[in-house]
C-alpha cells in the first residue's frame, strides 16, 4: 500500500482557501442583507470546488462550480428578487435564548466533532485515487471514467431513482407555485355592464370640467343646480375654486318650474284627469 504524501503546494492552497471558505461561511451568516449572504456563500462554494479538484475529484469540482454556484445560487438570487427583502432581515432576535443557545451548542458541536475527528484521524493513511482513476497506469482513464464505471454499474438503480426524484421535484415546484384560476372567473363585458346597472349610478362618472371654464382634471364637474359633483373630484389634487359663469343658465331663463308650466298651459284641460278636471272627481 503506497502512501501518498501531501505536497507543499496543496498545503499552500489549503491555507489560502481554507480561511477564505471560513470567511465566506461566517460572512453568509453574519451579513444582514440576504443578497450579500448569497454572494458570501458563492465565495465558500468556489473555494470548496477548488478543494475538490485538489483532492483528486476534478469532476465534482466542476459540478460544484457549475451546479452549485452556477445554478442553485442563481435560483436563490431569483427567489430573493421575487420575494424582496423584508423585516425578517432584522438583527433583533425575537426568540428568547435562541442566539445564546445556538452559539453554545454550535461551539460545543464544533469542539466535540472537530476534536473527535482530529483525534480519530490523526494518522489517517492517504491511499490516493491513482489506483482507480490514475493516468496511464490506472484501471480507468481518469476521474470521469472511474465515476462513470461505478455510477452506471453498482449505483445504477440509485442513479435512476435520482432521475425520478429530479422529475418529481420539478413537477412539485410547478404544482406548488402554480396559481389556479377557475375557468370563467373573468367577467365578460355583458356581466360588467349588468353589474354597473345594479348600482345606484348606472351612467358613466362625470368628466371633469363640465360647465366649467377650465377642462383640467383639477376642475370639478358641476351639477345642474351649480353644486360640485363630488364624484368628479380627482383624488390627490386640490380642487380649484369654482367660479360661476357669467352667462345665464337655463334655469334663470325659465324662472321657477311652476312659472314655466303656468306660462306653457294657462287654459283648462279637456283631457280627463287633467289638472282642472273637477267634474271627474
Amino acid at each position: 500500500m503506497n502512501e501518498v504524501v501531501i505536497g507543499t503546494g496543496e498545503a499552500v492552497v489549503f491555507w489560502i482557501l481554507g480561511p477564505i471558505a471560513l470567511a465566506g461561511a461566517l460572512g453568509m451568516v453574519l451579513s444582514r442583507n440576504a443578497v450579500h449572504s448569497a454572494l458570501w456563500l458563492v465565495n465558500t462554494m468556489l473555494a470548496l470546488g477548488v478543494f475538490y479538484v485538489v483532492q483528486e475529484a476534478p469532476f465534482l469540482g466542476a459540478v460544484q462550480i457549475i451546479v452549485y454556484t452556477g445554478a442553485i445560487m442563481i435560483l436563490f438570487l431569483f427567489v430573493l428578487m421575487l420575494v424582496g427583502r423584508d423585516s425578517s432581515d432584522s438583527v433583533v432576535e425575537t426568540l428568547r435564548g435562541q442566539r445564546v443557545g445556538a452559539l453554545l451548542f454550535g461551539a460545543g458541536f464544533a469542539a466535540l466533532v472537530g476534536a473527535g475527528t482530529a483525534r480519530a484521524t490523526r494518522d489517517l493513511p492517504v491511499e490516493g485515487l491513482a489506483a482507480v482513476q490514475g493516468g496511464e497506469g490506472g484501471a480507468a482513464a481518469g476521474n470521469i471514467d472511474a465515476i462513470a464505471a461505478v455510477l452506471y454499474s453498482r449505483y445504477l438503480l440509485a442513479f435512476e431513482v435520482t432521475g425520478a426524484l429530479l422529475i418529481t421535484a420539478a413537477v412539485g415546484a410547478l404544482v406548488l407555485t402554480h396559481v389556479e384560476r377557475e375557468a370563467g372567473t373573468r367577467r365578460t363585458q355583458k356581466e360588467l355592464s349588468r353589474a354597473r346597472f345594479l348600482t345606484d349610478r348606472p351612467q358613466t362618472l362625470p368628466g371633469p370640467g363640465v360647465f366649467a371654464r377650465a377642462n383640467s382634471v383639477a376642475a370639478p364637474a358641476l351639477l345642474p343646480d351649480g353644486r360640485v359633483a363630488e364624484d368628479s373630484l380627482a383624488t390627490g389634487i386640490d380642487p380649484q375654486e369654482v367660479t360661476p359663469m357669467p352667462r345665464p343658465t337655463g334655469r334663470e331663463q325659465l324662472g321657477s318650474p311652476d312659472a314655466a308650466l303656468g306660462a306653457l298651459d294657462p287654459t283648462v284641460s279637456d283631457v280627463p284627469g287633467g289638472r282642472e278636471g273637477g267634474e271627474h272627481r
Binding site: M28, S37, I72, S88, Q133
Partner: protein
C-alpha cells in the same frame, strides 16, 4: 498538513451552517445555510474517498448534490407559496403548527 485539516475545516463549516440555521430568520438565508452544511459534508466525503482510495465517496457526494438540487427547487417553491399567502419570508411567521 494532513487530511485532518480538511475534515476539521468541514466540521467548522458544518457548525457555522447549523448555527446560521438557528439564528437567521429569512427562510432563503436559512436555506443557504443548509446548503453550506451539505457542502461541508461533501468535502468530508471527498476527503475520505481520497483517504481510502475508493471512488464511492465521490459518487456519494454527487448524489448529495443532486438531492440538494431537488431540495432547493421544492424548498424555494414552498417559500414562494408561503410568501404569496403571508407576505413574509420569515420562518417565525409560519408558527401555527403547535398545540
Amino acid at each position: 498538513m494532513s487530511l485532518t485539516h480538511y475534515l476539521v475545516l468541514a466540521a467548522i463549516l458544518f457548525t457555522i451552517g447549523a448555527v446560521g440555521v438557528l439564528v437567521r430568520r429569512n427562510a432563503i438565508v436559512v436555506f443557504m445555510c443548509v446548503e453550506l452544511m451539505l457542502n461541508a459534508v461533501n468535502l468530508t466525503l471527498v476527503t475520505f474517498a481520497r483517504s481510502t482510495g475508493t471512488i464511492d465517496g465521490q459518487i456519494m457526494a454527487l448524489f448529495v448534490m443532486v438531492v440538494a438540487a431537488s431540495e432547493v427547487v421544492v424548498g424555494l417553491a414552498i417559500i414562494m407559496s408561503i410568501y404569496r399567502t403571508r407576505r413574509s419570508a420569515s420562518v417565525d411567521d409560519a408558527s401555527l403548527l403547535k398545540y
